[in-house]
Amino acid sequence: MKIFLIFMSAILVNNFVLQRFLGICPFLGVSKKIDTAVGMSLAVIFVMVLASVITWLLNGLLVLMGLSFLKTIVFILVIASLVQFVEIFLKKVSPGLYEALGIFLPLITTNCAILGLALLNIQNNYGLLETIFNSLGAGFGFGLALILFAGIREQLDFADIPKPFKGLAGTLITAGILSMAFVGFSGMIKL
């Protein structure tokens, strides 16, 4: 039961983008079209789940060796390697998506949502199963926020917006309003 609550909480109540304000860079950068948003979300879910599991295991080793202070740098190493692997894989399997994501694919490495997720799993003392479901939830939450926002932005392209609000200004305001909407979920799940 707790695992299901963790999963739903990561998607809605503590959405990584809209509530924790992590991963804003790809959120604003890849949400112009729904197709790229979906591709980016899948890549992020993959990296998040794998990175969380590997970092959780490595944290066990670090604690055993008394080297907990190396947490940050070891986690970054894991995330960077995983993202590089995703890049290599995508370039071969789907060059179209690879070109569409452009610079934002290697930027997943610096996506604070991934490192934040890894560190949060340790901070909340989650077991392996809880870690997996938290990461799945975080990934899906990220995807949800991204795809929702991409849909909104695609519609906004056709709207008659006053000149000062065109472009990034309007986008940021919209993101804020979307975040406010998600506040409606707070308190729904008490972990």
């Binding site: 080793l61 060796m65 190493l77 894991v78 290599i88 399997v93 452009g102």
Partner: protein
């Protein structure tokens, strides 16, 4: 002792991930135009973006497509890069 343990651990992790990536790069290799590699080797490889493209690989691809002029690489102009590109494309 902690010092040595840290070095050993980081070194081991680097080795493991490096090997994994090298293996993956070989397995998922994308067959590219051999002229692309030759042009990239002729370029300075600084990725400065002065040519207007995001990195040396992008400029090399544009040259192959015919979108970029041979002398588009600013730091390369002094090193004889335009002539090298001309030779590679004429092969």
């Amino acid at each position: 002792m902690i010092f040595i343990n840290s070095i050993i651990l980081m070194g081991a992790l680097g080795l493991v991930f490096g090997t994994f990536l090298a293996f993956a790069a070989k397995k998922f290799e994308v067959k590219e135009d051999p002229r692309l590699t030759k042009i990239m080797e002729a370029l300075p490889g600084v990725n400065c973006g002065a040519c207007g493209y995001p990195g040396c690989e992008a400029f090399a691809k544009a040259v192959l497509k015919g979108d970029a002029p041979h002398d588009g690489c600013l730091p390369g102009k002094r090193q004889g890069v335009p002539d090298k590109i001309k030779n590679i494309l004429e092969e």
